[in-house]
Amino acid sequence: MQIIQPHYHAIARTAQDYERMAMSGVVAVCEPAFWAGFDRRHPETFIDYFAQIAEFEPTRAAEFGIRHFCWVAVNPKEAENRELTQEVLRQMPEFLQKPTCLGVGETGLHKSTPNEIESLQAHVEMAMKHDQLVLIHTPHLSDKAHGTKRVLEVLAGMDVNPDKIWIDHVEEQTIESVLDAGYWAGMTLYPVTKCSPRRAVDILEKYPRERLLVNSSADWGPSDPFTLQESVVEFRRRGHSLQDAVEIYHNNPCRFLGQNPKWDIKPIIISEG
């Protein structure tokens, strides 16, 4: 089965991940800009990072027949440095023009501070001005419900097209409000701290699937790119058809990401004989 990994931090992973993902049907990965594990101090560090994910990482993925796309943003954890954020934002449009850059992300909130909110607004404004997709990170664990509510409040006060916005890391307590507001909702599968493969399938069975995305994120922390495949297996083992699985794990990413013409992978219809 062909799978798209819509949220994957490839620079934190080994080539062996690419090889195994290719063997398990992954045809494309999308890499949002994220936190490096420490707060970067210089705009130039971001620029080099953006070049890495926009120019170099596609060549590494291509070694295994996987397409690689990226997003650019200042991670919410680093938004406290307003000067840095403004300077990086000033230089971001250059990267939005790169042939594999799909939009602005992941922006969003971490602790929902005023500086984070200012940064989120600036990122979304830039995305809308340049007709870009937006990928929004929502906070972890105990900050999630409040942070997601704040994200929705910020977006409600702006002139945005919900079709172009993906709010990520939803769980049972946040998915309804995100879908009700008309946005795309992403479930991130982590071994411990976010949604699990089984809980993700529960959510897929409970809510309309047209605007749902599933990803494993997979970064330098405790994470596993193959939680995505675990959820595919869990979905199939509950009796859902192969086409239904393709709709979620391949075609939905194509439908959302395909709003950017740089994304040229089309939804597929399979025959089960």
Binding site: V192, T193, S196, R198, R199, D202, K206
Partner: protein, 78 residues
């Protein structure tokens, strides 16, 4: 050996995850009941899990033997 605080700090998130999996499994069962308009013919496994959680909810376990008690409980009930 870990200190009490370090024990909680080390294992809290994993225990949180495991409890969420149990909660989701019970929700999954309820959704299946709703979809099929009938309960399982044999609900003993569900009752066994609920009883296990009652054991865990007891305020004092002076012998720190929750796992042993659950194993005995599961052996008797499933």
């Amino acid at each position: 050996m870990l200190s009490p605080q370090k024990t909680l700090d080390t294992y809290y998130l994993e225990a949180r995850r495991d409890l969420l999996e149990v909660a989701a499994m019970l929700d999954r069962y309820d959704q299946a009941v709703k979809r099929n308009s009938e309960k399982a013919q044999d609900e003993s496994k569900r009752f066994s899990l609920l009883q296990a959680m009652e054991i865990l909810s007891e305020p004092d376990h002076p012998r720190a033997d929750r796992a042993e008690r659950l194993l005995k409980h599961f052996a008797e009930t499933s």
